[in-house]
Symmetry: D2
Subunit: 231 residues, 4 copies
């Protein structure tokens, strides 16, 4: 990353310079880079999180209570570019997603966040601009992390993956949980900051700071694309 | 929780009222309460995260680079009270902790955060005020979540636990990662906001907001103690 | 279990009396009993493992290469009785099953056992006599253990389960793998010996011996039904 | 493997030719071979499973109730040769082992197999002939599989491992459980049949048959050494 990008991290103005310096002094946040075999995770980019088109947040939540509104549609063109690069490199793109809950799907999530349980069938469809192709791996999930209760790690081991690039939503929810698990499994992790979205701008920024400090390389898409050169 | 406590959430002034309303409108953040069989997790309360006594952050990091300084010593008396309640209720207290890394302990963490690898032996000792007793379950861990790569969930199933109260540090690191996993396993989760600590006040507050919105009940110790009545 | 049943364990004549005594002398194989909250797992009872009706093994494998033939249809009436008891007790019945593999489902299993990959759609349907009801939890799985890469443990924690009764097939494959994991999670585990089936009689018997020695209570259905009294 | 070795599989005479043919007809048991980056797991080769020297089983169990007697000491020289090859190839050797249980280590194992809980400190030492070197990864475990409740998979991903060779004991217990998990994670798995041991010859043979049929390449050490050529 260039120094200029470094001067404009998404959390500047929210996490104080003093706090940022404190983290650096503690030896946190070194960049890890990418390995030889990256895969792309596109998490939960379904109409239930994006809405069917770009709308202000309040309006968007009337279509789907779980929509992130404009933030989603700002990210989707970047996700599309990133996905195109993976297609070009012939590296795998995997799609963890939320499948419609049934009556039997009890558990903490329905109590904690009843609003998450009510989207229509359309809400569970993938956003067309960044939808899976035939042959892509789809991973229905019940919990925030794309690894939790899914065979994701087995797919990645089978594919010989060493690096995960994580896109989608929400930054503070499923993206964050997936990044922490990916880091714990010892994959290299990259989060293109403009390819993830959230319903809270503050939480988005601070979660990017947390991930950059402890678990992942966080950078603008352009910088990530430079790291991902086709072989 | 009383309305007054609700008026003074730790993230007020950092996460805007508008963002908080947006989360409520999306149906996030309902309280879950405690079950019949709670356990207490005290995570990483070792001298490497607290220092040997209360010192300002800058001074504290000269003793241990990973120290959280005064924030730790503000939390420790609260953790001590909480622990006393669990002892009184005869409910289990478990201690996930970081054990000294060896040369063989490679992996992403040593590259990402070399500062985490250098504490002296004293740094790995439990802070005396809230140290385990004989017979308590100790869980050495290599990764942020107390569940990842440890037998924690097996212990909890064996003990018939349905609720986890999580204390210790850091709020944005091991506490957050553990809370997300505990929620995913379908335990009820409670985070007493004054029993967890971090090196960044902003990250501490926003992670409490994230957890309160999606994964846990977050409340002051006094409110948590009211929820935890001895049978 | 009565002494008479003990005299007729399914592995008698295959595992020598001397070996059985050696295991007892080593302090292995104590019975565990059932807890207060049992759940029933019915694993892989689909036409691909049973065939559409009872046929000798050679004939059955011409219908589905993975069929276990008559052994399946000897077990199914017992599984049906066991399931009825769980319905009567109003305790949960869960259905881990193999879903049709897609092109993207690479991995060791397709190389190791190509015969597992070729069943028709009918093969993936549940055997009608012991099929799930609306509201039952279905768990598609990619790997032998019903826990591996699935949210099963989260469902069980949510339901407050302390005991798993395991039925289905194959004794030496998915049943065995699931039983080992259930034991490792610290559930009590019961295997009704006449409710599980396999394509090899020897492997069936020896796996029952292994499970009885180390991981589970293994007993005839009648004895299991006595342990499972409605409250 | 040569045809001659194939004529002398360890389960011949125990699993009938007819059963073996039935498995082959079902498309089970294709060999997988080794990948580019193998690691060796040496499981539980401690004095508690081997005794301090080769003794007949009955005598051995008087030293340690969990001893496998002569079977262990027949395997140890083969394990030693295998380990030497991994040292020579500079590929990792990892040591999952059972650490001494404390009072807090409750759970199903202490009820099911009280004999497993009583060995002296010497019993927990590694057998000197195949003991770890400084820098080797040691993995204390509480459950049969070396993966369950341990960070093993994270170590393997960090090391870029694609193939696991599994040695140690017991064939029907921790070796089998580890092999099933390794297969489920999509590692290639090899079990050198003369490098694993058990207290029951029948169970040893049938578990090798199960693993060869469904999860691993099972072959004599000599054949495995041919597969593992130094680069």
């Amino acid at each position: 990353m260039t120094e200029k990008q470094d001067l404009m991290r998404p959390w500047d103005g929210i996490v104080s310079r003093k706090e940022q310096n404190a983290y650096s002094a503690a030896g946190l946040g070194k960049p890890l880079g990418v390995g030889q075999h990256p895969a792309l995770l596109v998490i939960d980019v379904q109409y239930r999180t994006a809405g069917t088109r770009s709308m202000p947040y309040e309006q968007a939540t009337q279509e789907f209570g779980t929509s992130c509104g404009e933030a989603a549609w700002n990210a989707i063109p970047h996700i599309s570019k990133l996905m195109a690069r993976f297609r070009q490199m012939n590296q795998p793109v995997l799609f963890p997603y939320v499948s419609k809950k049934t009556l039997a799907d009890q558990g903490r999530v329905s109590e904690k966040s009843p609003g998450l349980m009510t989207a229509s069938d359309l809400g569970y469809e993938f956003v067309a601009e960044v939808a899976p192709l035939d042959g892509d791996i789809l991973l229905p999930k019940k919990h925030p992390s794309a690894f939790f209760g899914t065979p994701l790690v087995s797919y990645l081991i089978n594919l010989g993956i060493d690096t995960l690039v994580v896109a989608g939503c929400s930054t503070s929810g499923c993206v964050r949980a997936t990044v922490v698990d990916a880091f714990s499994y010892n994959f290299r992790v990259v989060v293109p900051q403009d390819c993830v979205y959230d319903r809270s701008a503050t939480s988005h920024a601070v979660n990017l700071f947390d991930m950059a400090s402890k678990y992942a390389d966080v950078a603008p898409l352009n910088a990530v694309l430079e790291m991902l050169q086709p072989n």
